[in-house]
């Protein structure tokens, strides 16, 4: 099996599994308990918090653990609005993940005014548009660090500074960025930042939210005192330990050119072998592991099924919208031509991807595309 769908989810690193296993076996205590069996588990949580903080360049006390990226995004958006309850304006972008867009749509029904910033054909933001949208009534600017479908990076630093000039809170959905590109929250003008473990070789079911020190945070889940009252619920100890280890490992791999070299080899190789193909998204401002390619005149699902037949996993659109039949909202926002819109495939690599796997895609995909084009009524026009 050739797994090139790492933006959907990643394999748990064996070292991560090794780190978490004791907490699925002998160290099952509840960290809130009044015995040293539970107490020693509490120490493991502290260590994990330090590991995650180290990757992000923040303080351990600024990290709270969640169950996934979606919870992080939902929580951050609510917390930001609760911190400035008198303001009624939100700025986001048209290409956000559903776990940001859907809460925003929901808030529109509750009387919030939401600006969805557009992107250009390369998926990039226009800072002038952002500046024009910002007002003293803007409670929140929420945008992603890196796009899950195209890998395009947004200029968090500039956006954050501008937003802060207007007194808005800045939330960054960094689910796709964390572990793939360096982030330094000591430097970045960001108040809240979301990450999700299963995108960086930790298991599914664990995530984290960065909350800048001093931020008047209001929790989404209320109940017990866990996470200093910022997230109720018995802590997912094995998941937290795993995320800590995954963060530590990610840091050691940051800057390793391996993924980008293979991604470039794949991208260039396919562009050379398959005519009428284009890269979707800015060529430079992009995650090192992602390429989104538009194969004109063919349909994405058909390509995926063929790839699947060869044991190759890739994706069209984002994993959690691919159950629907609509073309990707991200590519539509980029105003890609219809010929490309329906035939775009995302390959997303990881540190476990091997050169031979890329080779194999280069071998089989040209045949698949030409087969599908042969039966397409459009390619002959």
């Amino acid at each position: 099996m050739i797994y090139l769908d790492n933006n959907a989810t990643t394999a748990v690193d064996p070292l991560v599994l090794e780190a978490m296993l004791p907490y699925l076996k002998e160290f099952y205590g509840n960290p809130s308990s009044m015995h040293s069996f539970g107490g020693q588990v509490g120490k493991a949580l502290s260590q994990a918090r330090e590991q995650v903080a180290a990757l992000l360049g923040c303080e351990p006390s600024e990290i709270l653990f969640t169950s996934c990226g979606s919870e992080g995004n939902n929580t951050a958006i609510r917390a930001a609005l609760a911190a400035q309850p008198e303001k009624r304006h939100i700025i986001t972008t048209q290409v956000e993940h559903a776990s940001v867009l859907n809460p925003c749509k929901h808030l529109e029904k509750q009387g919030y005014h939401v600006t969805y910033l557009s992107v250009d054909e390369q998926g990039c933001l226009d800072l002038l548009e952002l500046e024009a949208a910002l007002t003293g009534d803007t409670a929140l600017v929420t945008l992603m660090a890196a796009n899950n479908e195209t890998g395009v990076l947004f200029p968090i630093e500039q956006v954050g500074s501008l937003a802060h000039d207007y007194g808005a809170i800045v939330h960054v959905d960094a689910v796709q960025a964390v572990g793939k590109i360096p982030l330094d929250l000591h430097q970045l003008p960001v108040d809240l930042l979301t990450l999700s473990g299963h995108k960086l070789h930790a298991p599914k079911g664990i995530g984290a939210l960065y909350v800048r020190r001093g931020f008047r945070f209001r929790p989404l889940l209320i109940g017990g005192h866990q996470e200093k009252g910022r997230r109720a619920g018995t802590e997912n100890v094995p998941g937290i330990v795993a995320l800590g280890k995954a963060a530590e490992l990610a840091q050691t791999y940051l800057g390793d050119p391996h993924e980008q070299q293979l991604r470039d080899a794949l991208e260039i190789g396919l562009l050379q072998r398959i005519p009428d193909t284009q890269v979707n998204g800015h060529l430079l401002h992009r995650l090192p592991n992602t390429t989104n390619l538009g194969f004109k005149f063919v349909e994405g699902e058909a390509i995926l099924f063929w790839l699947n037949k060869y044991g190759i996993c890739a994706s069209s659109g984002s994993a959690c919208t691919s159950g629907s039949l609509e073309p990707s909202h991200v590519l539509r926002a980029m105003h890609l031509p219809y010929t490309v819109l329906h035939g775009s495939i995302r390959f997303s690599l990881s540190r476990f991807t091997q050169a031979a796997e890329v080779e194999r895609v280069l071998e089989v995909l040209p045949g698949i595309i030409s087969h599908l084009r042969a039966i397409s009524p459009f390619s002959h026009e």
Binding site: S33, M34, H35, S36, G38, G39, G42
Partner: protein, 159 residues
Amino acid sequence: MWDYSEKVLDLFYHPKNQGPMDPTPEPGIRVVTGDVGSITCGDALRLYLKVEEATERILAASFQTFGCTSAIASSSALTELITGLTLDQALKITNRDIADYLGGLPPAKMHCSVMGQEALEAAIYRYRGIPLPVHTDDDSALICSCFGISESKIRRLVR
């Protein structure tokens, strides 16, 4: 789980000077007690002092405590700290001294050492026949987060 120092745990598991003091009169020596807290608020301390009347020196001290790990360790620490001191010297002992002697207490548990200071004060004032100063509600709120205003009133009634 509270992160207690070795010293706290040691004095908790092996308290020194525990138990009531023999009240049989001895010439030139007086035994007094000082009480703080009540069973209502979950912690209480009875401190016994054996004082040499001529010198006002504390010859021995012992305690009985109803309370948590740090309350028991604090009580025991107090008895060690004050043995051999004169009453005037002992009055200078603060809950900080008790906590320091214990190698520190978790912030949420600092109030457990305050009980020691209060009991000591109570015993000495009783020895000297001085009425106990009334702690204002503000004070008690500072002292222990489990003594709400209404509870500190209950506490005085019970006392």
